[in-house]
């Protein structure tokens, strides 16, 4: 998604601290994780204390990789209020040793499979009570080359 079309005002407040949307400085979307400078482990979303080291002050903000692969997925057809069905949910594996729950989009349902490569984007997640788009991060299935 081009930053020109991305309205930061419409980001779901619940997700706001979890990612950096594209901007005029940086056309990429970034997930913001905590990395422990003692044990080296990443956590997403950010944590208050490293659960391994159990010490204050070992966590730093880090961007996660923007490419991942699908561990599993499903297609939601009976959607919660505000979500347009069908939509895809799944878990994707990142190189930092993290698997995260996310919405997934694809142009072609045939490309949706376990192991498929996906790329982080910012985009519409749902509609609010007024029918306006609510934005967040999600992953998009990459075209095979």
């Amino acid at each position: 998604m081009n930053q020109a079309t991305f309205d930061k005002e419409r980001i779901d407040p619940v997700l706001a601290d979890m990612f950096i949307p594209p901007s005029s400085h940086d056309n990429e979307t970034h997930l913001v994780a905590s990395k422990c400078n003692k044990c080296g482990v990443y956590f997403f979303p950010k944590r208050h204390i490293c659960p391994n080291c159990f010490e204050e002050g070992t966590l730093e903000d880090k961007y996660l990789s923007n490419e991942a692969s699908i561990y599993t997925y499903c297609v939601v057809r009976a959607a919660p209020v505000g979500f347009d069905s069908p939509y895809i949910l799944g878990y994707v594996d990142l190189p930092e040793g993290i698997r995260i729950f996310t919405m997934i989009e694809t142009d072609n349902m045939d490309d949706l499979k376990i192991g498929a490569r996906v790329r982080l984007i910012a985009g519409k997640i749902r509609r609010d009570e007024n029918g306006e788009d609510v934005m967040g991060y999600k992953f998009s299935v990459m075209k095979e080359r």
Partner: protein, 391 residues
């Protein structure tokens, strides 16, 4: 540890009952449990009440147990509310068990009740407590179990037909259980033609929204003979919060494996010794994982296990002879003690046309609940009890 026996059990019919409130349901289950037990009310020394959603749905977060007991003339004893998602009723039983095991009490009452039919959003999946982040991204429990199904199918070749067969088996059992919300059989074709909810799960792969209650009277085993000549012993009680790990294999529930292992060790038994089990078939794929996680079959063989009839009454182990959650419905806090009531009847030979022949050892299993974790996936609780004929 002290040996503990169940001497009475009771449950309401499970159904959508808009005209009945949660107190009314709990009262009926308690009256049935008490009257079936021969235990005078004055002998009951402590009570626990398991609920998962009465605060949010009915503005009754505490005191449901107290109100139910007051209505039947019991006050002055310790009464505590217990919550653990879908294992809330089972957790009430477990706290009652621990209270007797401590030596401080001899006779306890466990209640599990819920009225889910009042929730808004008819036809939409029930969400889990406190999962703000997940919900913002479109999460629901059926989506979670559908993701598990996708991966299980990928790794082990499990089929939609095998998942359908779980429903077919349990709905078949339900024909003989007047306490179920659904009491009719269905075919594989009907399951596969039912409304898609979250691919690969369809409506008939999902348990329905229901109201209902169960109640269990238990006591130190050495007192059980005062009340009945057919006590049912609780020989294991285990509970585990999910073991949340990075990149956890999602085709198995660590929490269930941990609870199962502990329960078998406590009982001194193994999966082959279980004659009848009521397991948490909230979705048909869940029951397939439970076969594996509870040791009834090897990893990945849950699909063939149901397909080959090994989970039938008359198979290797009778799974969900009551009809399970898929037939009875799933009123969160109500489910666990309906399961225990079924096993109480099964082990006493009182299960009518759905009786598992020769059932001597039984198991109940509830699990569920989600943490608001984007990164770590498991369920928030898994509770297992093992029971044996005590006479």
């Amino acid at each position: 540890m002290r040996e503990i026996s169940i001497v009475g059990a009771g449950m309401t019919k499970f159904a959508k009952m808009p005209e009945r409130d949660v107190i009314d349901l709990g009262r009926e289950a308690c009256i049935k449990a008490i009257k079936s037990s021969g235990v005078p009310r004055k002998d009951i020394q402590i009570a626990y009440c398991g609920t998962a959603r009465t605060g949010q749905l009915l503005n009754r977060e505490c005191g449901v147990g107290q109100t139910i007991l007051l209505d039947i003339g019991i006050s002055g004893i310790p009464v505590t509310s217990v919550g653990n998602f879908c294992a809330s009723g089972s957790s009430a039983l477990r706290e009652a068990y621990l209270a007797i095991a401590s030596g401080m009490y001899d006779v306890a009452l466990a209640i599990g009740v819920e009225k889910l039919s009042v929730r808004k959003g008819k036809g939409l999946p029930l969400t889990s407590d406190g999962v703000t982040l997940l919900t913002a991204l479109g999460f629901s429990p059926p989506a979670y179990f559908a993701e598990i199904a996708t991966r299980h199918m990928y790794e082990f070749g499990t089929t939609e037909k095998q998942m359908a067969l779980v429903t077919v088996k349990n709905r078949g059992h339900s024909r003989y259980n007047p306490n179920c919300q659904y009491q009719t059989s269905v075919t594989v074709e009907e399951v596969l033609a039912s409304r898609p909810i979250v691919d690969p799960l369809r409506m008939l792969n999902c348990c329905p929204t229901t109201d209902g209650a169960g109640a269990i009277l238990l006591c130190a085993k050495d007192l059980a003979w005062k009340y009945t000549d057919k006590p049912v012993d609780i020989i294991a009680s285990s509970l585990h919060f999910g073991l949340y790990e990075k990149n956890k294999d999602m085709t198995t529930f660590n929490s269930d494996r941990a609870s199962g292992k502990e329960a078998y060790e406590m009982a001194g038994l193994g999966p082959k010794d279980i004659d009848v089990a009521e397991v948490h078939d909230c979705f048909s794929i869940a029951e397939i994982l439970h076969y594996e996680d509870l040791g009834f079959c090897p990893r990945g063989e849950g699909g063939p296990f149901v397909e080959q009839g090994k989970a039938d009454i008359g198979g290797e182990v009778a799974i969900n002879p009551s009809g399970g959650l898929l037939s009875r419905g799933h009123p969160l806090g109500g489910t666990g003690l309906a399961q225990t009531t079924e096993i109480f009847w099964q082990l006493r030979g009182e299960a009518d046309k759905r009786q598992v022949p020769g059932a001597r050892v039984g198991m109940t299993h509830t699990m569920g609940g989600f943490q608001d974790s984007i990164e770590l996936a498991d369920v928030a609780s898994s509770c297992i009890h093992i029971y044996r004929q005590g006479w």
